[in-house]
């Protein structure tokens, strides 16, 4: 536990020191979503109808951006060896890294999503459902992304492989996340979709760190 806190503190400190890298994902999210009104026109009906999908797809892609370096830097400078020899189980290291990714990338995306949804003329009563879906959604993206990043670690062209591996895994998250917001804007209950997202999170929470931890050990060999 103490070891995990030490890793988390170091990850957050490094993110602060490399502020440009940290803000990169957030700025990408805002910029990419801002392109849609320019591309499809500012008509509120069209834009509002597409808004949940735009926010979700952009969040998904933005969350992928920092994954390449999540373990890559540690592998290159030898820190990964030291982490694996710290006496912490590999799944705890992977889980802590995933949590750091969420705090540094997922949480800012979640906070930026509300103003972005307003900008995209999303119906006001659907915005709470969008955010309620993004909360487990961004956590799921961090967990699946961490697993993917650990699996492609050490592979040549890992940066290309990573989205190909992670994006298919995130499709259920995307489907139910958008469905929750769509249901709310259509006057239906978002609850079943949110519960499904929570169920996915409950499954991913133990499984993803275990898989990522095993992959980290494999990468160190």
């Amino acid at each position: 536990m103490k070891g995990c806190l030490a890793i988390l503190a170091r990850e957050l400190r490094l993110s602060l020191r490399h502020g440009a890298d940290t803000l990169g994902a957030l700025l990408f999210f805002v910029l990419a979503a801002s392109l849609f009104p320019l591309a499809i026109g500012p008509a509120p009906e069209t834009l509002g109808r597409l808004a949940p999908g735009i926010v979700w797809v952009c969040a998904l892609l933005a969350a992928l951006l920092p994954l390449d370096r999540l373990f890559g830097a540690d592998l290159e400078d030898g820190s990964l060896d030291q982490l694996l020899l710290s006496g912490l189980p590999a799944f705890a290291i992977a889980g802590t890294k995933g949590l750091a990714h969420w705090l540094v990338t997922g949480l800012p995306l979640l906070l930026a999503a509300a103003p972005l949804a307003v900008m995209l003329r999303m119906p006001e009563d659907a915005i709470p459902a969008l955010l309620a879906g993004l909360l487990p959604g961004t956590l799921l993206l961090s967990l699946l992304g961490t697993t993917g990043a650990a699996i492609v670690l050490g592979a040549r062209r890992g940066g290309v492989l990573l989205p190909l591996l992670v994006l298919p895994l995130t499709t259920p998250v995307l489907i139910f996340g958008v469905a929750a917001a769509d249901a709310a804007s259509g006057g239906l209950s978002a609850r079943p979709h949110l519960l499904l997202l929570a169920a996915m999170l409950a499954g991913a929470l133990p499984l993803c760190p275990l898989a990522a931890g095993a992959a980290l050990r494999g990468a160190a060999e």
Binding site: A6, A9, G78, D81, Q82, L84, L85
Partner: protein
């Protein structure tokens, strides 16, 4: 025959691959408390691979590694607690200061930095970002983490690479203190280390 009463580290008939290539096989040695073993051999003879295997990072294809008579690699977390490994890379984060880099490893071990900074003469550099360090200074920072740990088994891969004579002398003091406490040193090197009496294992 496995001798169950051996104290220290005992390796029997080790074999390991690097990639697709078998780098060594039928490798046996034993190091007792306070002992030192230097791995010698040409480039690519498997010195680094052997060190990673001993640390529990690399995969052992055959053979058995015993610590005080029991299989060392059964519980990797247990084994990690008795190993301090300094590899080729320095595991130094350029964005953090010298003290922060060392402080992280101290926190992982659940203790403070103490006088680890002065062990290899880094006190004056403590607040400097690690990206400003020279290669030798980075190496000193990596070796400083040895002053934090009380792991009995030190596995060192070319530890003196880039060190000046003063730093090598300080490093020698660190090694001597470790061996006086009954610690074991296994090092891969091409140059003589400040170790006193050592056993040598030739690979390749």
């Amino acid at each position: 025959m496995v001798d169950g009463n051996t104290v220290g580290l005992r390796a029997q008939d080790l074999a390991a691959f690097r990639g697709e290539r078998l780098v060594f096989r039928d490798l046996s040695f034993a190091v007792g408390p306070g002992g030192a073993l230097v791995l010698a051999g040409p480039n690519g003879s498997g010195k680094s691979t052997l060190l990673r295997v001993l640390a529990g990072l690399g995969r052992l294809e055959a053979g058995i590694l015993l610590w005080n008579g029991t299989d060392a690699l059964v519980d990797l977390a247990d084994h990690a607690a008795r190993v301090a490994y300094i590899g080729h890379q320095d595991a130094v984060k350029p964005g953090l200061t010298v003290a922060e880099n060392l402080g992280f490893y101290a926190r992982l071990l659940g203790r403070g930095i103490g006088d680890a900074l002065s062990a290899l003469g880094l006190t004056e550099l403590a607040e400097l970002p690690a990206r400003m360090l020279s290669a030798g200074q980075k190496r000193r920072l990596a070796l400083s983490s040895l002053a934090l740990t009380d792991a009995p088994l030190w596995l060192l891969d070319e530890p003196t690479l880039g060190l000046d004579t003063a730093a090598i002398a300080r490093f020698g003091t660190l090694l001597a203190a470790h061996r006086a406490r009954g610690g074991i040193v296994i090092a891969a090197t091409h140059v003589p280390l400040p170790l006193g009496d050592v056993a040598e294992l030739r690979l390749g």
